[in-house]
């Protein structure tokens, strides 16, 4: 009787896990296009966007059950994670790529986006990632300053200052100041 009960519990747990994985796969399938688009806006190029989405979704998927238990909107959770991950990745790359001199020639062709000819897009790509994230969350996600602050884990004052600096940079680059 005990053995039967244990088997039943195991099957129940296994079934729960299979269901959770199924939910996650469905979530990925449905949200992937929007997340890639959002990642494109955040990173400035489609390849980095794909890497960012893949990385964050894998992390979230490995803890899918606990993400669901928290009761947050999974999509909002993933987007916040993407913004923060992008900023962290940029910090790491910035440390790794600092060199004293420019290379003689570009070894790798720059990754082109279909928006590369847009001056605003170019100006946006040149922003530091946190400023860029603030702009994306503000104009892409239509989040308020408080929501942006919560998403990025920073204060409202920092959001305001980052936004102000970003807009000033964009105006300067576009010759609109």
């Amino acid at each position: 009787m005990t053995a039967v009960l244990q088997l039943g519990l195991t099957a129940e747990r296994g079934g729960g896990r299979a269901e959770a994985v199924g939910d996650f796969a469905e979530f990925v399938r449905i949200s992937m296009p929007g997340l890639l688009r959002y990642g494109h806006a955040l990173t400035g190029n489609p390849h980095d966007a794909a890497d960012l989405v893949q990385s964050v979704l894998e992390k979230v998927g490995s803890r899918w059950a606990s993400v669901l238990r928290k009761g947050d909107d999974p999509l909002a959770y993933v987007r916040r994670a993407m913004a923060n991950t992008h900023i962290s990745v940029w910090r790491r790359r910035r440390r790794e790529n600092l060199v004293a001199d420019f290379p003689d020639t570009g070894a790798v062709a720059p990754e082109l986006s279909r928006l590369d000819n847009e001056p605003l897009w170019q100006a946006l790509r040149d922003l530091p990632p946190r400023q860029r994230a603030v702009i994306v969350l503000r104009y892409y996600e239509n989040l308020s300053e408080a929501e942006i602050a919560k998403a990025l884990g920073i204060s409202c004052g920092t959001v305001k200052s980052q936004s102000s600096k970003a807009m000033a940079s964009l105006r300067t680059r576009l010759g609109k100041d």
Binding site: G39, G61, S62, E118, L120, L124
Partner: protein, 263 residues
């Protein structure tokens, strides 16, 4: 400013921001998530195994540590204790004494000098059926040790006049009492007096209350003004607690089978 606002909104609504989704994108993400979960589970399992092994090793080391502490008993004047750095695992030892209901350690831990040995007389009250067991060792001296070996330890002080039975008294390097150690030519060391500052592993020493002594050593037998505790060891020996009916006035370790009257 409004121009840039509008341009940004227009830019972020641009269809060119769309990124093509590869057909295997979903399965790739799901596989990656499963891989991460497995890796994390493996890491957690490894950590758990390491923790269990570590805990096991720690537990196995605690008991020898307690015995070592007893074996390292020093002739216990305060000056000697102060020159001896406390072992780094003092807290561990203290915990052992506290947790172990019936620590089978005789002698006097040097940690007692630092006041770190947890008083455990109340806990010992639950050990009424415990048979006391500990080696008859005090510092580098051991009951039954030959005079020659005892002298080699450097723990003996000056020799006194041998008794009629041929037993030779010695002071120790930390105790000026001329009869701290009594050595029989046939049995070796037959008695070691403990200094007033010393405490047994059950925190009994000169000045301890007799009630505490009886709680710590329920097997203590009355012998005149003494309470005697038989210790199971090879060679067999006893703790002799002299007392005035209220408190312990002196403690000595005595070889059970000895040929020195009055030892």
């Amino acid at each position: 400013m409004d121009d840039i606002d509008d341009e940004l909104r227009k830019l972020f609504n641009d269809d060119r921001l769309d990124v093509h989704v590869t057909p295997d994108a979903t399965s790739s993400v799901v596989r990656g998530a499963q891989r991460r979960r497995r890796r994390r589970a493996a890491a957690t399992g490894t950590f758990a195994v390491v923790a269990v092994i570590g805990a096991g090793i720690g537990l196995t080391q605690l008991r020898p540590l307690a015995l070592d502490s007893a074996d390292d008993l020093l002739p216990t004047s305060s000056s000697t204790a102060s020159t001896t750095p406390p072992p780094p695992s003092v807290s561990t030892y203290t915990q052992t004494v506290t947790v172990t209901v019936d620590p089978p350690v005789g002698g006097v831990p040097n940690t007692a000098q630092n006041g770190t040995t947890a008083p455990n007389t109340t806990k010992s009250s639950s050990t009424s059926t415990t048979k006391e067991s500990a080696p008859g060792v005090f510092g580098r001296l051991a009951l039954g040790m030959s005079e020659e070996d005892a002298l080699k330890t450097g723990s003996l002080g000056t020799a006194g006049t041998p008794t009629e039975a041929g037993c030779k008294p010695y002071s120790s390097v930390s105790n000026a009492d001329p009869s701290t150690v009594l050595i029989s030519s046939a049995k070796g060391i037959v008695r070691i007096k403990l200094p007033d500052t010393a405490r047994t592993s059950k925190n009994i020493g000169t000045g301890s209350k007799v009630t505490d002594l009886k709680n710590a050593y329920p097997s203590a037998a009355v012998n005149g003004s003494e309470l005697v505790v038989q210790m199971t060891a090879t060679p067999a020996w006893v703790y002799v607690f002299e007392n005035d009916g209220t408190a312990v006035t002196s403690v000595r370790m005595r070889l059970a089978d000895n040929d020195c009257p009055g030892a």
